[in-house]
C-alpha cells in the first residue's frame, strides 16, 4: 500500500514524445488522467489503457502503464477481453468520435449494454483529425469539411444519448478547458462499478478550432451551459437566475423570480434515477436554445459483467467440482475394447 501511496503523476509519464499538435485539447486530458491515477490506490502495474485509431488513440503510448494501441474502433472489444481475463485490472479505453461512434459503434454500445468494467473516455472534437479534416458522426449539420464542401447533410448524434440508449450505468460529460471539473468527473468514473462513459468536449485546434467556444468562452459560457449536480435544481446563467422547467415533456428556460417562479418549479437533477428518462432528456439539450449540460448524467448501481462471469465460474465449481480432464474425456457414452 505504501508503494501505491507513494506514486505521483510523474510515475505515469512515459519517455515517449507526446505528438499531438501544440494547443490540442488532448494534452489537458492526458495530464488530468496522469494526475488521477496515483490517487486511486491502485498499483501502477494494474492499470491498462486500450485505444483504437485516431489522434486520441495515441494516448496509451504516453501512459506508463500496461497498454495497447489496437485497431480502428475495436478498443472496447480488446478491453473487454482483457477485463474478462483479468478482472482485477483497471482497464481504460481512450477513444474519439470517429473511433467510438462511426467505425466502432457496435463495440461501443455493446460494452455499455453489458456493463463491463471499462472506463471509456471519448475525446469528442467533432472532426476527423488524423485523416486531416473530414466530418464525424458528431459534426454539426451544414459543417463544411473536405468531404462536405457544400456542408454536411449528416445528422449528428450525441454520444451521451447513445450511451444512455445502450443502457450505460455511468454517463458523464466534461470539457477539456475546465480542469477541475474534468478531474472530478474522471474520479467518479474511476470509482464506478461497471462501464463508465465520459464524453470530453475537446478542441481540435487545427481542423475544428472553436467548436466549443460557446460553452468554454468565459464571457458567454455561463449562459450556455448548465452544471449537473445530483439533487440540485437545474439553475445556470451568469446571474444564476436561469433555470429549466418542464411543461409536460417539453423543457423550457425560465427566469427565477419572474412570474413567481421559484426553485421548487425547477427540474432537480437525479443521477441515480432508475429510469434513464431524465438523463436522456438532458442529453438532448443543445445551445443556443437550451444550455449544454456538463457533469454526471447518470450513475446507477448494477452488477458488472465481469463479476457475474466470476460468479458463474464459482457456481459451476461448487456444483460440479473443479473440472478434471480425465472425467471430462470419459463423460458421455463410452465403450471399452479389450
Amino acid at each position: 500500500m505504501n508503494a501505491v501511496a507513494a506514486l505521483t503523476k510523474k510515475d505515469f509519464e512515459t519517455d515517449q514524445d507526446v505528438r499531438w499538435c501544440p494547443g490540442c485539447g488532448d494534452y489537458a486530458v492526458l495530464s488530468q488522467v496522469q494526475k488521477l491515477m496515483p490517487t486511486l490506490g491502485i498499483p501502477r502495474e494494474n492499470f491498462a489503457f486500450i485505444s483504437g485509431i485516431g489522434c486520441s488513440s495515441r494516448f496509451p503510448y504516453y501512459m506508463e502503464t500496461y497498454g495497447m494501441h489496437s485497431i480502428h474502433g475495436r478498443a472496447p472489444a480488446v478491453a473487454s477481453g482483457l477485463k474478462l481475463a483479468r478482472p482485477e485490472m483497471s482497464v481504460w479505453v481512450v477513444t474519439g468520435d470517429g473511433d467510438a461512434l462511426a467505425i466502432g459503434g457496435n463495440h461501443f454500445i455493446h460494452a455499455m449494454r453489458r456493463n463491463i468494467g471499462l472506463k471509456i473516455i471519448l475525446l469528442n472534437n467533432r472532426i476527423y483529425g488524423l485523416t486531416k479534416g473530414q466530418y464525424s458522426p458528431t459534426s454539426q449539420m451544414g459543417m463544411k469539411t473536405k468531404t462536405t464542401p457544400q456542408g454536411s447533410i449528416d445528422r449528428p448524434f450525441s454520444p451521451v444519448a447513445v450511451a444512455l440508449g445502450a443502457g450505460a450505468t455511468f454517463v458523464a460529460r466534461t470539457v477539456d478547458s475546465d480542469l477541475a471539473h474534468m478531474a472530478g468527473v474522471l474520479k467518479r468514473a474511476a470509482e464506478h462499478e461497471g462501464t463508465a462513459f465520459v464524453e470530453v468536449f475537446q478542441n481540435c485546434i487545427v481542423f475544428n478550432d472553436g467548436a466549443y467556444d460557446a460553452i468554454t468562452d468565459k464571457s458567454v459560457r455561463d449562459d450556455a451551459r448548465v452544471m449537473l449536480e445530483h439533487g440540485k435544481p437545474l439553475i445556470y446563467g451568469k446571474d444564476r437566475n436561469k433555470a429549466i422547467r418542464l411543461r409536460g415533456l417539453e423543457p423550457e428556460v425560465v427566469t427565477l423570480g419572474e412570474d413567481g417562479i421559484t426553485e421548487a418549479d425547477v427540474v432537480h437533477h437525479d443521477e441515480t434515477a432508475e429510469h434513464s428518462g431524465l438523463a436522456f432528456f438532458l442529453s438532448q439539450f443543445d445551445a443556443p436554445k437550451l444550455p449544454v449540460p456538463l457533469g454526471v448524467f447518470r450513475a446507477v448501481k448494477a452488477p458488472s459483467y465481469e463479476d457475474m462471469n466470476v460468479r458463474q465460474h464459482e457456481d459451476a465449481r461448487e456444483r460440479r467440482g473443479r473440472g478434471e480432464l480425465a472425467s471430462l474425456f470419459n463423460s458421455g457414452d463410452t465403450w471399452t475394447i479389450d
Binding site: E45, H69, A85, R317, G323, D333
Partner: protein
C-alpha cells in the same frame, strides 16, 4: 398396449430361431427425411449402437441450412450417413448399401447415390399425393417400377408409429415426431443390434419430457418388433467387430474434439482459456461445448460480432491467458484486420476456421477446403501466420493442442483449419490418459532487469508478460515497432528488419516438426499429398490402388505454413505428385510456388467429400501414365 407387447414377444421368440444371418465386411447406411424428421438423431442413435458393438465407423451428416424447410420439399431434405465395418473405417462411404427414405423428396434427392442392387426402405405412409407432388413425382416411384434395380421395402413407418402410440396420450403432431425412432428400431433389428442401451439413451436424452421419452421407446420397440416379426426381411445382417486398438472409446465430432483439445491445452499449461466468438455455422458447436465448461478455467464470450470475437481474444491474450476465437469463412474475412494486429503484437492466439462452401455466404452447411490461401496469405502487409489443419474428427483434438503449442512457444497467432465435414462428423475417439499428453510449457516474464518488450529468444519469440507484473509496464500496438523496445518506429531499416524477423520466426517453426510420415514406398511413381478432411478418402483409395498393383504413397500435411522442412525432398523422390483437394487447387498452387515442381490436381467443389472411387480412379490414371 398389450397388442404391442405380443408383437415384441413374437419378435423375441423369432430371435430364438433366427432368420439366416448374412456376414458383411462393411455397410453404408443413409437415413434421409425432412429436416424436421429427426434424421440426425436417428443417425447418431444408430452410430452409438454400432460403436458399442466394437465397430469402427465414420459418419457424414448432411443437412440444409434452413432451420426447418417446408415439409416434403426437395431442398428440405436432411441426411445422415454412416459406414461401419469389420476393419478400420476412414470415410462415411461412397454409396449407401441401404437408404432409409422417410418421404418422396428424400428418395428423389438421394436415389442416384444408392449402390445398384442396394436396399431402399421407404416410409410408404409418407408417399401421399401431396408429398409426391412436392417432390415432383407424377406417379409414385414405389408403384411405377422405376426402382427395379433396388431391393425395395415399403413400410408405412408413419402409420405404424401412429398405431403403436395411439394410446400414448400424445398429440398427433408429437406422435409424428416419433417415427424416426421407429425407423431406428427397424435398422437395429436388421443389423442384429440389441435395443436396451438405446432405450436408456432415449430416456436420458428426453429426461425432461418423460412422456415423450416413453413414446420414443415404444416407437423404437415397435419398429424393432416389426422387423423381427414380419417376413419382410428374409435375412438379417451382421458385421463382425473390427480389430480395434484396445482402450476406452467414445464417439466424438470434430468440433467437440476441438473443444476438448483446447481445454486440454489450458489444463496442460496451467493457463486459463478464453474464447471470444460469434455464432456461425458450422463452427458454433465449439462455442457451445466450451460454454458448458465453466468448472474448468474456461471463459467464453459471445461477442457482438466476428471482429469483437477475435479482438476480445487478443485482449485476453495480452492479459496472459490462452486467447482463441472460432469461426468459418465469412467470419474469417471479418477478422482479417485483427489477425494483422495479432501478428504485430506477437501474442499467442488461436483462430479456428471450420471451413464451409464459399465465397460469401456460399454453402454454410456443406464441406469445402477453399480457405487455405486466405489462411496463408489473406492479410494486408507481409503478415505470416502459421497454419495447421486437422484431418479427422479425432485429429481435431491433437491439432488444438498443437496450435497452442506453436502459439505460446513462438508468440504468434496460429490458424487451425477444420471443415464442416469433420466438424460435424463423428468417429470413435480413443480416450487418452491425460498424463500421457504433452506438457505445454508457458513462461511469463517477471524480471524487470534488462526487460525489452521485443527482445527475442532462440525461437525469435518475444517475452509474454502478464499485466499486473510490477516494473514491466509496456505498450504494444499495430504501428511498426522498434526491434528491441517495441516503441513506435518509422525507421525504414528497422521496418525491413521487423518484416524479415516476423517471417523468419514463422519459417523457423518448420525445424520444430516431426518428420513427415509417408505411407507407402519412400520413392517411386506417385505420391499423393493431401491436407485436412480428405484424409480418409485418400487412405482408402490408396489401399485399393496398392491392392491392384499400383506403386503409390501418401503424405498428409498437418502443417501448411510453414511446410515441414523435409517435404521438398520427399516430393522430389516421386515421378508424379497428386493433390486431391476440395477447392480449385490451393495446395497445388502453394506446392508449385514453394518447390518449383508440377503437381497433378484433383479438385472437387460440390459441397460434399471425395468419394473413394474418385480418388482411386485418378490414381489409376496417373499410375498408367507413369508406367507408359
Amino acid at each position: 398396449m398389450s397388442g404391442l407387447a405380443e408383437v415384441v414377444e413374437a419378435g423375441l421368440e423369432r430371435r430364438a430361431s433366427p432368420r439366416p444371418v448374412e456376414e458383411l465386411d462393411s455397410v453404408v447406411i443413409r437415413f434421409v427425411g425432412d429436416s424436421g424428421d429427426g434424421m440426425q438423431l436417428t443417425g447418431t442413435g444408430f452410430s452409438r449402437a454400432i460403436a458399442k458393438a466394437g465397430h469402427d465407423f465414420a459418419t457424414h451428416p448432411d443437412y440444409p441450412s434452413e432451420i426447418r424447410a417446408p415439409t416434403g420439399t426437395l431442398f428440405g431434405v436432411s441426411g445422415y450417413q454412416i459406414q461401419f465395418a469389420s476393419r478400420q473405417v476412414f470415410t462415411s462411404g461412397d454409396a449407401p448399401d441401404v437408404l432409409v427414405a422417410m418421404n418422396p423428396a428424400a428418395l428423389k434427392t438421394n436415389l442416384s447415390d444408392v449402390k445398384p442392387g442396394g436396399i431402399i426402405i421407404a416410409n410408404s405412409g409418407a408417399f401421399t399425393d401431396n408429398n409426391l407432388a412436392k417432390a415432383g413425382y407424377a406417379i409414385s416411384p414405389l408403384a411405377d417400377g422405376s426402382l427395379g434395380a433396388y431391393r425395395v421395402y415399403q413400410i408405412d413407418i408413419s402409420g405404424l408409429t401412429a398405431q403403436a402410440l395411439k394410446d400414448s396420450g400424445l398429440s398427433k403432431k408429437d406422435i409424428g415426431r416419433c417415427k424416426n425412432f421407429y425407423a431406428l428400431g427397424l435398422m437395429l433389428s436388421l443389423y442384429s443390434r440389441p435395443l436396451e442401451k438405446e432405450e436408456e439413451d432415449i430416456r436420458q436424452k428426453f429426461a425432461r419430457k418423460p412422456e415423450v421419452a416413453e413414446a420414443n421407446v415404444l416407437a423404437l420397440r415397435a419398429g424393432y418388433a416389426y422387423a423381427d416379426a414380419t417376413e419382410m426381411f428374409i435375412t438379417s445382417y451382421r458385421v463382425r467387430a473390427a480389430e480395434i486398438q484396445k482402450g476406452t472409446y467414445r464417439s466424438l465430432t470434430g468440433n467437440h474434439a476441438t473443444a476438448l483439445g483446447f481445454v486440454a491445452a489450458s489444463e496442460l499449461s496451467g493457463v486459463p482459456l478464453f474464447l471470444g466468438s460469434y455464432p456461425i455455422t458450422p463452427a458454433t458447436d465449439i462455442l457451445h461445448e466450451l460454454s458448458a465448461l465453466k468448472h474448468f478455467n474456461v471463459t467464453t464470450f459471445q461477442a457482438e460480432d466476428e471482429i469483437a470475437g477475435i479482438c476480445s481474444a487478443i485482449g485476453a491474450a495480452y492479459g496472459g491467458v490462452l486467447g482463441m476465437t472460432t469461426t468459418s469463412g465469412p467470419g474469417m474475412a471479418l477478422k482479417t484486420e485483427a489477425l494483422g494486429l495479432a501478428v504485430m503484437l506477437e501474442l499467442p492466439l488461436v483462430i479456428v476456421n471450420v471451413q464451409r462452401g464459399g465465397p460469401s455466404t456460399g454453402l454454410p452447411t456443406k464441406i469445402e477446403q477453399s480457405d487455405l490461401l486466405q489462411a496463408v496469405y489473406g492479410r494486408n502487409g507481409e503478415c505470416p501466420i502459421p497454419v495447421i489443419a486437422a484431418n479427422s474428427p479425432a485429429d481435431c483434438f491433437d491439432c488444438a493442442i498443437e496450435a497452442f503449442r506453436i502459439a505460446v512457444k513462438y508468440m504468434t497467432p496460429v490458424i487451425l483449419l477444420s471443415d464442416g465435414g469433420i466438424g460435424n462428423a463423428a468417429e470413435p475417439w480413443r480416450i487418452p490418459d491425460p498424463a500421457s499428453l504433452p506438457k505445454l510449457e508457458v513462461k511469463f516474464r517477471t524480471d524487470p532487469e534488462g526487460f525489452q518488450a521485443y527482445a527475442r529468444d532462440a525461437s525469435l519469440a518475444r517475452p509474454w508478460v502478464r499485466p499486473g507484473t510490477p516494473g514491466l509496464e509496456h505498450r504494444v500496438g499495430g504501428l511498426e515497432k522498434d526491434f528491441l523496445t517495441g516503441n513506435i518506429s518509422h525507421d525504414p531499416v528497422n521496418h525491413q528488419r521487423m518484416v524479415e524477423v516476423r517471417a523468419a520466426k514463422v519459417d523457423g517453426i518448420a525445424a520444430d516438426m516431426p518428420p513427415l510420415q509417408v505411407e507407402g514406398p519412400p520413392e517411386g511413381d506417385l505420391l499423393i499429398v493431401g491436407w485436412g478432411s480428405t484424409y480418409g478418402s485418400i487412405v482408402q483409395a490408396r489401399e485399393q490402388a496398392v491392392a491392384e498393383g499400383c506403386s503409390v504413397s501418401h503424405a498428409h500435411l498437418r502443417h501448411l505454413n510453414p511446410f515441414p522442412s523435409d517435404l521438398g525432398g520427399i516430393l522430389k523422390r516421386y515421378r508424379k505428385v497428386l493433390v486431391p483437394e476440395m477447392n480449385l487447387g490451393q495446395l497445388s498452387r502453394l506446392l508449385r510456388e514453394r518447390y518449383l515442381i508440377d503437381v497433378a490436381q484433383l479438385n472437387k467443389v460440390q459441397g460434399r467429400p471425395f468419394k473413394v472411387s474418385e480418388i482411386h480412379d485418378r490414381i489409376i490414371e496417373l499410375c498408367n501414365e507413369v508406367s507408359k
